[in-house]
Symmetry: C2
């Protein structure tokens, strides 16, 4: 049995964070059975250590380990690891009879795509991060607010909100990121990054979209905007991948 | 017949600029016959206009057209276009019986890779640009020095040379870019970006390497360094693609 470590949200909200979404998509796509453990932000480190999950990497000090979600433990192989990319890579290799999310021959280009994905959409940060605490239980919200302010130069999250022209301009930059993705996608025959084959690249984009949808709210102006960009490509992508979305809302 | 517009270098130096190298690799790979017209930098615009080649894009003023090399004219279809990426894409579509440099299904990921390639190796700029004028005839050299200074904040090219620790640090950044490429390549089974199939991504990397090799000089310390990075991957890539390199040195 595979255990997926996801992040715990408030009340009935299920998976909300783009990174665990990627792992969930991949597990569902491969039809691998798994159970989910939802963890509060301040507990990720202790839960990971107890479960024998190695750290994702190190803090900028080069010493302090960083533990993150998602992580998985696979009892069948005794493997424990974090990082959605590494998890996908592991599952491709450990379960060669399941459909590959990194089709043979595409691995290097998938890696290049993945390295560029977050920077391409970095303009979403000022819109998204301030809205995250409202989705979390109090302990996680407090932790999130404190640690994110520290990462982003000390500015408290509740002072991030942009208004007026500044907001329009920042939103335009966010759209420009999606335009870039759309430009790449338009080179192929679609609907997916590799044509009619679903791959990790699609789950990366869809996970970001799932995050935006739940963080902004399905009925928000922001989400409505996004669904109208690039000829409705983004909502369509979520629909095309819906069979692999399988959200467990009992957390 | 296809005509390739390349850049003219001094004396016996053939193709030296990475961008025309890409087009040349693609034409050779597809075994399409072509002739070459070598153009001096200050003549690119007038030669392009006379030949009916549309501009590559616009200057930052949003109005003035920019003409670049490489460009091709294909008499068979009456097509004239510039930009190595567009040329490759055109040739894939116009000559569907030749091997594709953008294999079906890889187009979007190739585009994502290509968008990231130059930024990944941007640390080569301070090493490479000051060495370019020495390879050009006087008119082109004067033009190059003048226009590059204008693009890069007015600093004359001959004042770009780094020394001592500053140079080591900048060289380390250049290596870090190659390490990144190597990291992506290492995800696949190699030797090429798509495994054992040659694609545009390989020509993009090889064209940059060809440029570095000729600009630094085959016997330079710099080129020796590069050939030793990443377990000799880069010189090996050039050798693996040698049959498509076909340099015409009579310019």
């Amino acid at each position: 049995m595979i255990t997926l470590y996801d992040l715990k949200a408030k009340g009935p909200i299920g998976t909300w964070s783009p990174n665990p979404w990627k792992a969930r998509y991949v597990l569902n796509y491969k039809k691998l059975p798994y159970r989910i453990i939802y963890t509060e932000f301040p507990d990720i480190e202790v839960v990971s250590k107890e479960a024998g999950i190695p750290p994702y990497g190190k803090k900028p000090d080069g010493v302090t380990p960083v533990y993150t979600s998602p992580a998985i433990i696979d009892d069948a192989t005794g493997t424990a690891l974090s990082d959605s990319y590494k998890i996908a890579d592991y599952l491709d290799k450990a379960y060669p009879d399941t459909p590959k999310v990194f089709p043979t021959g595409s691995e290097a280009l998938q890696a290049a795509f993945y390295a560029q994905f977050a920077p391409t959409l970095s303009a979403l940060v000022p819109f998204v991060l301030p809205k995250v605490p409202a989705m979390l239980n109090e302990r996680s919200a407090e932790y999130y607010v404190r640690t994110r302010a520290a990462i982003f130069g000390g500015k408290p999250l509740d002072q991030w909100e942009l208004v007026g022209e500044e907001r329009s301009e920042a939103w335009g930059k966010m759209k420009a990121g999606f335009d870039k993705l759309d430009g790449w996608l338009s080179k192929g025959s679609g609907p997916f990054f590799m044509g009619d084959v679903v791959t990790f690249a699609d789950f990366v984009a869809a996970a970001a979209l799932q995050g935006l949808k739940i963080i902004f709210g399905e009925n928000s102006e922001e989400w409505k905007d996004i669904t109208e960009w690039n000829n409705g490509r983004w909502d369509r992508l979520l629909k095309d991948l819906e069979e692999y979305a399988g959200v467990d809302v009992e957390n």
